[in-house]
Symmetry: C2
Subunit: 405 residues, 2 copies
Amino acid sequence: MAVGLGPISTLHPVPGFELGIASAGIKRPGRKDVVVMRCAEGSTVAGVFTTNAFCAAPVLLCKKRFLGPVRYLVTNTGNANAGTGEPGLANASAVCARLAELAGVDESQVLPFSTGVIGEPLPVAKIEAALPAALAALGPDNWAEAAAGIMTTDTLPKGASRQFVHDGVTVTVTGISKGAGMIKPNMATMLGYIATDAKVAQGVLQDLLRDAANKSFNRITIDGDTSTNDSCTLVATGQAALPEITQASGALFGALKQAVIEVSMELAQAIVRDGEGATKFVTVQVNGGGTHQECLDVGYAVAHSPLIKTALFASDPNWGRILAAVGYAGVPNLDVSKIDVFLDEVCIASRGCRAASYTEDQGARVMAQEEITIRIELGRGDCSETIWTTDLSHEYVKINAEYRT
Amino acid sequence: MAVGLGPISTLHPVPGFELGIASAGIKRPGRKDVVVMRCAEGSTVAGVFTTNAFCAAPVLLCKKRFLGPVRYLVTNTGNANAGTGEPGLANASAVCARLAELAGVDESQVLPFSTGVIGEPLPVAKIEAALPAALAALGPDNWAEAAAGIMTTDTLPKGASRQFVHDGVTVTVTGISKGAGMIKPNMATMLGYIATDAKVAQGVLQDLLRDAANKSFNRITIDGDTSTNDSCTLVATGQAALPEITQASGALFGALKQAVIEVSMELAQAIVRDGEGATKFVTVQVNGGGTHQECLDVGYAVAHSPLIKTALFASDPNWGRILAAVGYAGVPNLDVSKIDVFLDEVCIASRGCRAASYTEDQGARVMAQEEITIRIELGRGDCSETIWTTDLSHEYVKINAEYRT
């Protein structure tokens, strides 16, 4: 059902970063469900994590450890190790300790990630038994296999890669992500791993990732549910033969920033395109807001409305439902007579009413597309925000009524 | 599909209040879609209305006029007269003016209500043509017929009635409501009409209605969408042979207040029971909150979560999804280790983890019921709130993908 998401594109290896995949048989025998990543000594790591108060045990450990030094990341699917209390923390720690022992590093240099069912004990023994095979499989060319290894209800693996050349040196930014439901701003169910061979201090890297996340992972929503396990990391291995990159590095910093944002946006949009039951990829663009927050409030009211989402599923240009959602978004002193709404380039509502020029045929033509932009002009300021979402289909209900998160 | 909603119960006539139903053929020829209500001279009227910034033309007129004196209420289904700008206001006014002319009252004494498709011009001529028949049909015994006349996607008419005796005088409170989707706190898609023969000044009546709405109509949610047309009115005809009731009336005031609250709660819960595609009637009770607002934030996070709603549809005791929703409700400094969650009397999560005593069988037994209470104990204060909602079924998607609001 994925909308406009094809086979995974070429994912360039990142010098200093290796990936190894193995099978622990957590949910199904033989399924590759454990991914180990190794970063070169001296790597820096940035991280953004779920804002859910019930964040999972691995998230708690990651937050303590990611400032480094970090040498390994270990991910399992099939079990989120969330809602598991103190035993959950001990289990996450045990997996890290075993990996550290096998790899000859300190346990604190290992970051754990889990995704899958909430509230069941982590099958530590199964995961530990798979670690030697994952370590043995480590290699720089395994990005695509790792993208498949971190999937849960995803129907397709997700990856993105960019390269640029500076002073004759090629710099690579490559990433993978997973997530298809429980997707809302602030890192929902998704896991994201991005690596670059640029050399970047942790503080600068953290700013880069936060900025990129606020243009990508924090601007997508499928069902408005924020998961307990969302994490995204950006690793800089420093293996490229270039000086350390800082905000003062001019064009070099700009090129890196752009590459990180582009990879993040492609990964985030891929999650929406593969949204549970999605048949449409919908961009909600809100312009003319007095503040960024009110643009986001309007955008999410539209993106979360089950009535709009079912109308999108039905390809029904139901502009009344869009106006109603804008109206209840909670924007103070909203002057509805200044609001215009567009489906792609078709003006459907002008000054708060049905546009005089609008015909049902025009709306139906846009709604029939797989990719649709809903543009809302608030006419009260200069702020804009863009978020991405999906429709709400029969299939979404089926998947979530039958799948045990 | 309505959950636990049977044939409409006995609706006692309210002296001084009459209802008349007629057919204007707005959506379908022959369907009774126009309801006129007449209140005796000297009646007072309280009203609560949608908070949607795009409130419909009739809501704008009602808000101007309901402080009175009011003699007639006129309702049409099939067209919401919302998103219609100045022409919409003129159309609502025209219907009122025609009714006023036929009835020999001033136009300002008529309150208009509309529900149905947003953004289409109100078919004024059709409605006006039906007014003489509606006026001719006026009578005190037509509550049930009026309840059917205001339905849109409702599958059953909704009504409730209470009586109490004071000093040998019987006082009646009777009401009807409609609404099945676009239901969220603050008067969503619903129309409600309640009348009593008690004599109550407008200010006192308004406090009574606002208090009742905050325990009923403002505590229900089906899909989180707030409509442009929600209105609820409480009419006091003053025909009962009792002195005027004020807050100082002691037991008499208490009895009236209780009757108004009970009627409001029964009408509000009937809307949820008839929620679009509903297969479950779900009470979300949040206790131990530091503030009422945080109880509501947690309750609505749970009640709006598509993941919880689909789990309810599947009768899946997925307590992890409930904890996750509590965790993202935005309660500041939430200590998850103090939180307990119950399905009816079964403790499913204790101190933020799966309860040691809990078995899947216990959870599955509760989830198999048509009526379920999710109780969340926050353990941080003395505030409580209760809201009512439904599951999210295939049928909801089908109804909203096919119906043009």
